[in-house]
Symmetry: C2
């Protein structure tokens, strides 16, 4: 996917930093805060970082004395920074910790730390995936915003993971997008949240066969936003309380162990059980919250059928599904099963219309073959098990990806005279 | 609904007993056994008994020396008694406790208790509601079978509720169909199950305004049977364990209290929360079980909308939904809201086709007006809140009922010479 390089007007004596940051997909779900302001969770969580080759947020920050005030745009639309407690929290935390800005070539100080207050910011943020697809953009967006500010201000961590405690105040799961590979967010015990940090469990090279297939089943329908949904769950669901207190820690250990040992069977079982339990908690919320639709349920059923078939043949499971606060299926699978799975779902859901079919699969990293002949190679036993889609079921498009690295600084320049 | 009286050929020197028994709809759900053989539940449950004027099971038993063996038919089809552990369990329990059969007019003993083994049974069972509708018939069926045998054999309870411990061995929830009104099934603690009995909380005259609306959303689709579903839940759902151990007893007390005080707001809240939690446990089962479909979810949403509107006006809730192991909505409401609710759901789901529309509502007890003019009186605010059904949503028919009495012996005769 060629990136059109966006050019910004950079005033003289200014600094510009551009960062990209990834989406992450939890395999142990975060649902519920014990502290709304500091965004401290009721339980720990764990996710895979999705390669930025398929999806990413990008933020550019220009700092200049010539700007009258801080300004921000998100996907081309102005965003009111002052009106957002969360943007302000992250911005203020990093601003007060700003260091001297040093020319990387000459070593000379261009902006002294005490002069930063004179520099206002122009912040340009955008995601290269459609918001309407129901893919959570707040994690990658706040991870990107945090990383970009940290690069600008030369943020120095006083303890490992400190930056994740700042990203967390923008959006809880953003803290997990600050690292690549497999990342856990340790819930912590302290009231001030300083021990509620993200920690990398393994990097993106640890389990190179891991692949991700995102089946977009979101129709643009209005859903309960996760922030208010989890707040209602904390207030009303007796099962969430039990999950947080008695179930998740054991699963965290099991999942970490499965990842370290690359045990896909164990990984898949915990992933699916935890997704189901999260949606069970949503149903136990009052009034109940439903995120899964008919298509989601069909895909769950298909994955179980395929895994049962594999189990009968003495093989490990084919795939694991997981669902966030929406109907999109995220499927973790190993390289060997990626193409067969894509072919099966193409048979079921790829539109008949040629122009729609042509853009139905997004595979910027060329992880699969997407020509008609390759897609037509569907395992007949799988096809029989999957059956036909019922009316109303629809997968709008498919994104093929893998586990990838954390945020990247792609530009850090200044326009001071040399 | 005129009952076509079925005539049976009764041989000479025989006894014939006919019983009817009601369906019950739980407001605190039974899901999970701690003992599969004795059918002892992991938690207590509580239900309303549905008036037999709308639905009932009917069983006729003829006992005669002229029959070579026990025989049974269910809805006109032969049933293998010997092949059913559950039928056998109930039959054997009652048979071994048989008393003398006495002519009610003359007082003379027609069959001595020691002679019963010579009398084989012809058992004819039928339900007057379609099995395909997905309405559980095992509770009413086994309550009827148990009541009929108890009447035939002159069963004498050695402790209150003993008969319910026998019905329970046919089908767990059958024990609650042995009484009218509001009935709790106390889970008990003993291994032999003798304290796992059904107890009437209040009779059918206690809360005369209570009404029941059953919206049949079942499409005949194959679902996970409740027996195997709850077994999988017990084995795999950590949330079920917590529900049974820590949540249900409090809800039982709250529900009993709500019923005794006729507090509809409290009744409704516990009913809806417990239905949701039961379905949450199904989702937490591995593989997950889904009983609710799109229509079920829409009806849940509508009821919450109507209740919120009532709350804003300082009024008690309009209705409470509850769902068993299938997508049919059972709505408990008070008389004053019955017609308005029926009108709203008619607007949304009554078929346009005149002949289908004519049979869409089943109201044998004439609890509502079903002419087109009456049904058209839809509260405009309610109509706006409810919106329009999405494609794929369908209510196949509606049954209007109320809380009613327990099993009835409708015939007990003999053909011995006087």
């Amino acid at each position: 996917m060629a990136e059109a390089k966006v050019e910004f007007e950079v005033p003289a004596d200014s600094v510009v930093v551009t960062c990209t940051a990834p989406v992450n997909i939890a395999v142990i779900k975060y649902w519920g805060k014990r502290d709304e302001k500091r965004i401290l969770p009721v339980n720990s969580s764990l996710s895979g970082t999705i390669d930025q080759g398929s999806m990413r947020s990008m933020t550019t920050i220009i700092a200049s004395k010539s700007f009258e005030k801080d300004e921000m745009s998100l996907n081309g639309k102005p965003e009111n920074i002052g009106g957002s407690k969360r943007l302000n929290a992250v911005l203020n935390e990093l601003r007060k910790r700003a260091e001297d800005f040093v020319d990387s070539e000459t070593g000379s100080v261009l902006i002294k730390k005490e002069d930063w207050p004179q520099y206002k910011l122009k912040i340009i943020s955008e995601n290269n995936f459609p918001t309407a697809a129901g893919l959570a953009s707040s994690a990658s967006g706040f991870a990107c915003f945090t990383s970009c500010l940290a690069a600008l201000y030369g943020f120095k961590e006083q303890f490992p993971g400190e930056l994740t405690t700042i990203a967390r105040q923008g959006s809880g799961s953003a803290c997990r997008s600050l690292y690549g590979g497999w990342v856990k967010w340790v819930k912590g015990e302290r009231d001030d949240g300083l021990d509620s940090i993200a920690v990398q469990v393994a990097d993106e090279n640890h389990w190179p066969e891991m692949r991700v297939l995102i089946l977009v089943a979101h129709s643009g329908a209005k859903e309960v936003p996760s922030t208010s949904g989890m707040e209602t769950s904390v207030q009303t669901s007796l099962l969430l309380k039990h999950r947080a207190e008695a179930i998740v820690e054991g699963r965290m250990q099991g999942m970490e162990d499965a990842i370290i040992r690359k045990d896909f069977a164990k990984f898949a079982e915990i992933t699916m059980k935890d997704s189901n339990q999260f949606h069970a908690v949503c149903l136990d919320t009052y009034p109940p919250i439903f995120y899964l639709n008919q298509t989601s349920k069909k895909i769950i059923h298909i994955i179980h059928q395929l895994n049962d078939l594999a189990a009968k043949a003495g093989k490990p499971p084919v795939a694991a599904y997981t669902y966030d606060a929406g109907p999109n299926a995220v499927i973790y699978t190993l390289q060997e099963n990626l193409q067969p799975l894509l072919n099966l779902f193409s048979k079921l859901y790829r539109p008949a219309d040629a122009s729609e079919a042509a853009t139905w699969i997004t595979d910027p990293m060329n992880l699969v073959k997407t020509d008609g002949e390759s897609l037509a190679q569907v395992d007949p036993e799988w096809a029989t098990l999957a059956g036909e889609p019922a009316s109303g079921e629809r997968v709008y498009n498919v994104i093929v990806s893998k586990v990838g690295p954390g945020p990247k600084i792609v530009r850090k320049e200044h326009s001071f005279q040399k």
